[in-house]
Every structure is written in structure tokens, then in C-alpha cells.
């Protein structure tokens, strides 16, 4: 009973909730309850309960293989693409069960967008086509609507001024950082409610990283953002809440300032001070 993981649950009473003092009724985008995920025989995450606040940035940190990407992918059912996956527990998006049998995973992913570690604009498409491909393939035909959404998404991704004259050029002609912002614009174009980011800056140089971080900060006014990161300083800079995963379990969760200045768990402290991981 005295293991550190269990004492966490004692601390936060059931599902870990970020204490929001100013708001009497905190709004949660996601409510994950007792989520466990197996890849074949291997349990990737174990009994994770976590509530993710709306219009805030939540960072998931932890050493490699701790299940942080798996948890992120469970939020839009992307983990199901891996063969032989099994899941227990529930994930609610605005109170609605994402795993209910009546819900099409494609609809879930339209509501919960995702940006990946490696920027992946479609190589056969131009910059413009890349942005609106999600709408097009979901049946939107109106040219006017598409071009409006194109500009809006690129502006939100802070890329419009750089590419507005090159919309017909291949998406792969952009630099690494621009490609990643193009992918963010592509995710924004389908107007999701949440954006998940799986180490969005790990392949970028510091300047491009700074731009993405600035962008994340701007986007949280309209979106709930959940990001996985390996970079502790980045988690500290961009996130409002931080969840620390270790060996498939949620060790500690709370406001970022608290996690970084006054962690309650020894493992959290060891990890963020660089003693392991």
C-alpha cells in the first residue's frame, strides 16, 4: 500500500483533477477513467485516470516507453491502428464516451486532431491541397468554403505570410519547421475540438521549436491541447498542467508550476532533475 503510485491516488482522490482555484466549476475536455491498454500480452498503460482541462495546454512527460504516446493516442483512438490492441476503462470527450460502440473512430478523429513527431505533409499534394485535404476527403466540395478555410487555417498556424504566394508548390518543398506548421494547419482545417501533439518539436531546430511553442500558446485560447514531450524545459515553458508517466502508470499530475517546483513524488523529482530518463 505504500508504493508511490498508490499514494498519488490518495493525494488526488480518484481521478486526478487539476485544482483550479479561480474557476469554481472547472471544465474538462477529456475525462479518462481507469484506462489500461495492452499491445498483445504487454501492458502499455495501467489504470490511468486523468482529467484534461479545456483551453489549456497539458503536457505528458516521462522516459521512453512509459506509455505517454499510447495514452495520447487513446484520446483519439489512434492506438487502435496497432494490431492486437486491447483497452479497458473509459474516455469521455465533453462527457461523451469515445469508445461507445455507436461511435465511428473516424468521427472521433475529426473531433480530436493530431500532429505527429515527424512532419508528414502528403508528398503528392501542394501546400494548399495539404491544408484542405481533410475537408475534401470528408466530402466538402464548395470552392469558396475551401479557400476561406485554407487561409484561416494557415493564418492560425502562423504560416500564411510565408506561403501565401506558394500555395501551388509541393508541401514537401517547405523547411522542416514550416512543414510541421503546415501539418498543424492541416489538423486545424477540419476544425477539431482538441489538438493532440506527439513530440511536435523533437525533429526541429531551436528557432523552429520556438515558433511552434509560440503557436501552441496562441492556439490554447480556442483549443484544448495535449502534448507529449521529451523536453522538460519545453513542458515547463508551454504547459499549464503536467502529467508524469512512468512504467505505464500516472505517477503525478497537477499544475505545471507545482510539478516542477514542488513535486510530491520522489520519482517525479528524480526525473525532472535529470537523475534518470
Amino acid at each position: 500500500m505504500a508504493t508511490p503510485e498508490q499514494s498519488v491516488t490518495e493525494r488526488v482522490e480518484g481521478p486526478a483533477q487539476p485544482p483550479v482555484n479561480s474557476d469554481p466549476a472547472p471544465k474538462f475536455t477529456f475525462e479518462a477513467k481507469n484506462v489500461s491498454i495492452w499491445y498483445g500480452e504487454k501492458r502499455a498503460i495501467e489504470d490511468v485516470s486523468l482529467n484534461i482541462a479545456s483551453n489549456a495546454v497539458t503536457a505528458i512527460i516521462g522516459p521512453s516507453g512509459c506509455g505517454k504516446s499510447t495514452f495520447l493516442r487513446a484520446l483519439n483512438r489512434m492506438h487502435e491502428l496497432t494490431p492486437k490492441t486491447r483497452m479497458e476503462g473509459t474516455v469521455l470527450l465533453h462527457g461523451e464516451d469515445l469508445y461507445s460502440s455507436s461511435i465511428d473512430p473516424a468521427i472521433v478523429r475529426r473531433r480530436v486532431g493530431m500532429v505527429f513527431q515527424k512532419s508528414n505533409p502528403f508528398p503528392t499534394m501542394t501546400i494548399g491541397e495539404n491544408v484542405v485535404v481533410g475537408l475534401r476527403l470528408n466530402g466538402v466540395r464548395s470552392h469558396k468554403f475551401l479557400s476561406e478555410r485554407l487561409e484561416k487555417s494557415l493564418r492560425m498556424a502562423a504560416l500564411w505570410d510565408e506561403v501565401k504566394d506558394d500555395l501551388h508548390k509541393p508541401g514537401t518543398s517547405l523547411s522542416g519547421g514550416q512543414q510541421q506548421r503546415l501539418c498543424i494547419a492541416r489538423a486545424l482545417a477540419v476544425e477539431p475540438e482538441v489538438i493532440l501533439m506527439d513530440e511536435p518539436c523533437s525533429a526541429l531546430d531551436p528557432i523552429a521549436t520556438a515558433k511552434i511553442e509560440e503557436l501552441i500558446n496562441e492556439l490554447k485560447a480556442q483549443y484544448t491541447i495535449v502534448t507529449v514531450t521529451h523536453n522538460m524545459q519545453q513542458a515547463g515553458r508551454i504547459s499549464d498542467y503536467t502529467a508524469f508517466f512512468y512504467l505505464g502508470k500516472l505517477v503525478e499530475f497537477g499544475p505545471t508550476t507545482e510539478i516542477f517546483t514542488n513535486p510530491t513524488q520522489r520519482q517525479t523529482e528524480d526525473y525532472i532533475t535529470g537523475r534518470f530518463g
Binding site: N76, F116, P123, T124, V133, G134, N138, C183
Partner: protein, 286 residues
Amino acid sequence: MRSQGTNNHTWRKIKSALASTTAFVSAILVILPLGLVFFHLLINGITSVNWDFFTKLPAPVGEVGGGMANAIVGSLELLALASVIGIPVGVLGGVYFAEYGSARINSVLRFLADVLNGIPSITWGVVVYGLVVLRFKSFSMLAGGLALALIMIPLILRTTEEVVLLVPNGYREAALALGVSRWKTIVFIVMKTASKGIITGILLALARIGGETAPILFTAFGNRFWNHSLFQPVAALPLQIYTYAISPYDDWHRQAWAGALILVTGIFCVNILVRFLTRGRGASVV
């Protein structure tokens, strides 16, 4: 000490020169047969390539002149028919292997497709003879096209599967994460990304079956006159070359050379088209 170093250097230079000379000679030996064949065809065939050759039917036995118009068109019709059957089955089958199915069953099917690729083409001719020609009691264009399609399918299937597997998983994930359905992701993202490779596989398969003679012998049979009906025997260029080449008439021999020249040129052009398609790697990964 120093002189030894220089000696070593000289010796290494000699070895390097030897190696590159051997490689150069080997390369020439590889290219030489192609050059010789084409040169020989050109010398023997070019005199008989004229307007009549492309526009006229074969002349009756004993008369000089005539052409292979029906065989050229017949070959194109057979290729078109084989494509209509073979391309959809081959491409969709390849996509299935790459995108769906279980790994264990796929590896068995893949092995079977490789076995099919290794079957001598005359076997396909005999098979279609038994299945179609005997049943309809007639040689036909349909039977010829089917035999060629059966040769095409495993070829296209394997190349399609390989190029589809080359498409990085990141593109599939990116599309699925936008809420795009699985089949739309496969058709509009994965297959589009791999389209150059798929088209290359199709063209190479066409070049391969364009020159097949044996399966035609048992199925389309050949015809000295025009035929555009699916259910009648039809002429084909390789078969016409074969018939003319083993005939006792000098004029037919000359026409056989001309036919071979046209056939090789056509296949050559298809291969150049393939080179052209695979050259620009700018916008595509495959």
C-alpha cells in the same frame, strides 16, 4: 620506408585500374547483345517497314507484298483486353496484401503469387485452352486476352504490393487522424503516393506480355484477316512473326524481321516511358 609507400601506391593504382576495366568490359558485354539484336533487326527489317506494312492485310500465299496491320491491331486489342482484366485484379490484390489481411495468410498468398510468376507462359496457354477454348469450341480473342491477363496479374500484384508497402506509415496515420475513412485513405493517400510505382509495374507487365507468343498460340490462334470480335480468333504480332519466320518464303522472312523490329521498338518505348516516369522523384516517395 618511403619507397615502399610509393610502391604500395602504384600497386594500388594498378589494382584500381584493373577493377574498373573489368567492370567496364562486363558492362559492355551486358549491353552488347541488346545492341546486336537491335542492329540486326534494323538491317534485316527496315527495308520491309513501309506504309503497306502498317495498313495492309497479309498477302495471299505466293504473292509478294501485303502487311501486318491486322496483327499490330490484334496485339493492341489483346493487350487492352488483358489490361481490362489484369490491371484491376492485380492492383487491388496487391493493395489488399499490403494493407489488409493477416500477416501469416498474406505470406502464404505472396509465396503462391511468386510461384505463379515463375510458371512458364505456355502453361497459361494450355490452361486457358482447356477452360475457355474447349468450352466455347473456338479459339478467340477473349481466350487470348485472358491468358495474357493471367500472366499479368501476379506480376502487377507483386510490384503493387511492394510499392504500397514503401509508403511511410506516417501518411496513413496523418490521413486517419483527420477523420478520413480507411478506404479513402488507401485510395486517395496511399495509392496516390505510390501511383508512379504502380504505373511502372503495369507498364513493365505490359511490355512483358506484349512479346508473349506461346500462350497466344493456344488461345487467340492467329488470323490472316481482320477480326474485332471477342469470340473469333485474332492475329497477334509475336505469333505472326513466328508463323512467317518458319515459313519457306523469302518475302515472309523479310516481313517477320520487320514485325520483330516493330515489336522490339514498341517494348523499348514502353521501357523508356518507365524510365521517364521513375526519373522525377521530386513529388513522390515511390
